[in-house]
């Protein structure tokens, strides 16, 4: 193969960060829900997939992509609220495996429902016209849409950070995650807090699905592959840590990208090799709190 130039390595690094942004966006919802509720949401991939299908449907009935950026997270968030209220809430306090099994089953139900409603074959999802084509980023051409995804991820992260750190409701959420008993004693309705956290987490999943749709089209199984990768990201970052998910997501993207450059066959394995190394050196992940799983 031809020699490696500086530009190629820089472009590859950038491609890794862009890929990482998608992992981050998917994993923060997962991490948020786990960190606050200790619910391992196996249906996260299914919410992501439904987000893409809702976007597809809205566009088919005359909506546009920009409208979907608002409508999809809203609708998926509402759906998430309903799921929490009806299915997850009765399982609190019963051990971590109950909601895990429930969401695992729920993901199958959701995928099957989408197959029934939209068929087993996928649909194309055109990149919005404004964001088509590639732009020169100094070291080579890069798709404009992927740059947009990086920006959108940054906006979501910023909004989430402001919400959790700078609002009084965010304070209650953080307190509730640390010690729900005391928060309850102080007169706060913790179940309402959890409901909203679950809604936000699923809304972000739906948003991520919508953003992924123009990259790869939509298909009922699209949530499956990314779920495995997102779990690696949350484990590496530390279960329940949003900052950890961000760092780990970007790191996983870069590791995949760099491995692709030198040994493309190993790219998929490299994610899991990274996880193994992190788990050996630091079992709780980058920023994980010990004992959250117990």
């Amino acid at each position: 193969m031809a020699g490696l130039s500086f530009d190629l390595i820089a472009l590859q690094l950038f491609a890794g960060l862009a890929l990482g942004a998608i992992y981050v966006l998917f994993a923060i919802g997962l991490s948020l829900i786990f960190g606050m509720l200790t619910v391992v949401n196996f249906a996260h991939g299914a919410f992501y997939m439904v987000g893409a299908y809702v976007g597809l449907y809205l566009i088919s009935i005359g909506g546009n992509f920009w409208l979907c950026l608002l409508a999809v997270p809203l609708l998926i968030g509402l759906f998430g609220l309903a799921v929490e209220r009806v299915l997850i809430r009765p399982l609190y306090g019963r051990g971590i495996d109950y909601p895990l099994l429930l969401t695992f089953g729920l993901s199958y139900v959701m995928v099957e429902c989408v197959r029934i409603a939209f068929g087993k074959t996928g649909y194309p999802f055109d990149t919005p016209e404004l964001l088509q084509g590639a732009v020169n980023i100094g070291v080579g051409y890069f798709p404009l849409y992927r740059l947009f995804v990086i920006g959108a991820t940054a906006v979501v992260l910023l909004a989430l950070w402001l919400f959790l750190e700078k609002t009084s409701f965010g304070l209650i959420i953080r307190a509730g995650a640390r010690d729900p008993q005391i928060v309850r004693v102080l007169g706060v309705d913790v179940s309402r807090v959890w409901l909203i956290v679950f809604g936000i987490g699923t809304a972000i999943a739906g948003f991520a699905g919508l953003l992924a749709a123009p990259l790869q089209g939509v298909i009922p199984e699209m949530g499956g592959t990314i779920l495995a990768e997102a779990f690696v990201v949350t484990v590496v970052g530390g279960m329940g840590s949003i900052g950890g998910a961000v760092l780990a997501g970007l790191l996983v993207g870069v590791v995949v990208s760099m491995t692709s450059l030198f040994a493309p066959e190993m790219a998929k394995v490299s994610i899991f090799a990274l996880m193994a190394i992190v788990l050996i050196v630091r079992p709780q992940g980058f920023f994980g709190r010990a004992g959250l799983m117990s």
Binding site: S5, P124, T127, Y141
Partner: protein, 417 residues
């Protein structure tokens, strides 16, 4: 008292389950009336294809067209009144699953023949089972290995093209038109490997320069980390040898990266269903091969007849490439049954070997030594403008007529003459 209640409860539940499942089986089977009336069991054709997974779009077309072949056989009176039936199974694109389903088809369903598969690797797993059980298997998916003496048996037939023929036809066209510097992006399994081998072999005649081959696992959803490297190689031609959803995503993302501006993308096979699923943008300008395109109906009466029958059965839809293979695979077997006047394996094998047929795409026949169907290969280009209907997605650039010269020789495959 408590004990009694529990016992009664469990019995009623079991009864409920039995009744429900028996009812379901009866309701699902289209032959429930025949079961009661027919004197003879139907001729059963097992049909394992990957209905779920990345090749699902193509597999569904295989089933549709396979059903058409069965319906035509039955409408024409079957085998002296004995009707045929397609027993479809989902092999999930997994060799283990396919072997289990095929064994089940042979042992439990007692199928007379097996037609199907949609993977270079999975069909070998099916072939292993049918070979051992002495059941005829007509494969409708690409593979080179299935022609080779090691995998071949007298029960093995191959209605689909093989990678050697396909890459040969596409290579002979592309290497004279687009340039000599070629880079490859390849799905890392038998199909991809066989295609690249075929391109490199035909490339020798044209002195092509191989700039590199980047391999990706089956079921990849993001190619963004592979594309900058391919672009940096500065090839004239980027040859993408993957299939189904992998092909859709790879072409879409290559388009996003602006690769088409300076590089001609070719693919050994352009799948009709994938082109429809991915939309015109992603496939625009890509050149590749195929075994069948409905548009050749101007040239062959058999194509016209097949298209019309398919349209009639499926609300005006036109058949796709892999659909046509499903049709061809089932129809050849059923025609051989009629010719042999029996479902006895040896007689049907002899009848298949003797067939000179033109059922959907012009003249074809099974070569004696490896049972490969000798047939034409179309070189096509994806359209994005001037489409007459939703199936008008390709333009036929050239046709390689059926010729044994384009196949590997029987000696090279290890068959003793």
């Amino acid at each position: 008292m408590t004990k009694k209640v529990t016992k009664a409860g469990s019995i009623s539940r079991r009864r409920l389950l039995t009744t429900a499942s028996a009812g379901a089986v009866l309701a699902v089977s289209p032959f429930r009336i025949n079961l009661l009336q027919a004197q003879e069991a139907p001729i059963k054709i097992g049909f394992p294809v990957p209905l779920t997974g990345p090749y699902g779009a193509e597999a569904q077309d295989q089933v549709r067209a396979g059903q058409l072949a069965v319906a035509q056989f039955n409408d024409a009176g079957g085998l002296n009144g004995r009707k045929a039936e397609l027993v479809v199974r989902d092999d999930k694109l997994n060799p283990g699953e396919a072997a289990t389903r095929t064994l089940e088809l042979v042992e439990k369903e007692k199928v007379n023949f097996v037609v199907g598969s949609l993977s270079a690797a999975v069909q070998l797993a099916i072939n292993n089972v049918t070979k051992e059980r002495g059941v005829i298997f007509n494969s409708i998916s690409q593979s080179d290995a299935i022609n080779e003496a090691a995998d071949f048996s007298k029960y093995t037939f191959h209605e689909a093209l093989n990678p050697h023929m396909t890459s040969g036809a596409v290579g002979r066209y592309a290497f004279t038109k687009f340039g000599k510097k070629v880079a490859f992006l390849t799905a890392d399994y038998a199909y991809g490997h066989e295609m690249v081998r075929g391109f490199l072999e035909v490339g020798k005649e044209f002195n092509i320069e191989n700039l590199g081959d980047i391999r990706h696992p089956l079921g990849t959803t993001d190619f963004s980390t592979l594309l900058p490297r391919l672009q940096a190689l500065k090839p004239d031609i980027l040859c993408i040898s993957n299939f189904g959803r992998d092909q859709q995503i790879a072409l879409k993302q290559a388009t996003d990266f602006g690769i088409k501006k300076s590089i001609q993308i070719i693919a050994p096979l352009l799948s009709h269903a994938s082109r429809v699923a991915a939309g015109p943008q992603a496939f625009e300008g890509v050149v590749g091969g195929c075994s069948f395109f409905w548009g050749i109906e101007d040239k062959f009466a058999s194509t016209k007849a097949f298209n019309d029958a398919f349209r009639k059965m499926y609300d005006g839809k036109l058949p796709t490439d892999y659909g046509a293979l499903g049709y061809g695979g089932v129809r050849t077997v059923l025609e051989a049954v009629r010719g042999a006047g029996s479902v006895e394996t040896d007689k049907v094998v002899a009848a298949l070997e003797a067939l000179k047929y033109d059922y959907y795409k012009g003249p074809q026949y099974y070569r004696k030594c490896d049972h490969q169907s000798v047939q034409s290969v179309l070189v096509i280009k994806s359209k994005s403008k001037d489409m007459k209907n939703e199936s008008d997605v390709f333009e036929v650039l050239s046709t390689e007529e059926p010729n044994e010269k384009n196949l590997r020789t029987c000696d090279a495959l290890g068959h003793k003459s």
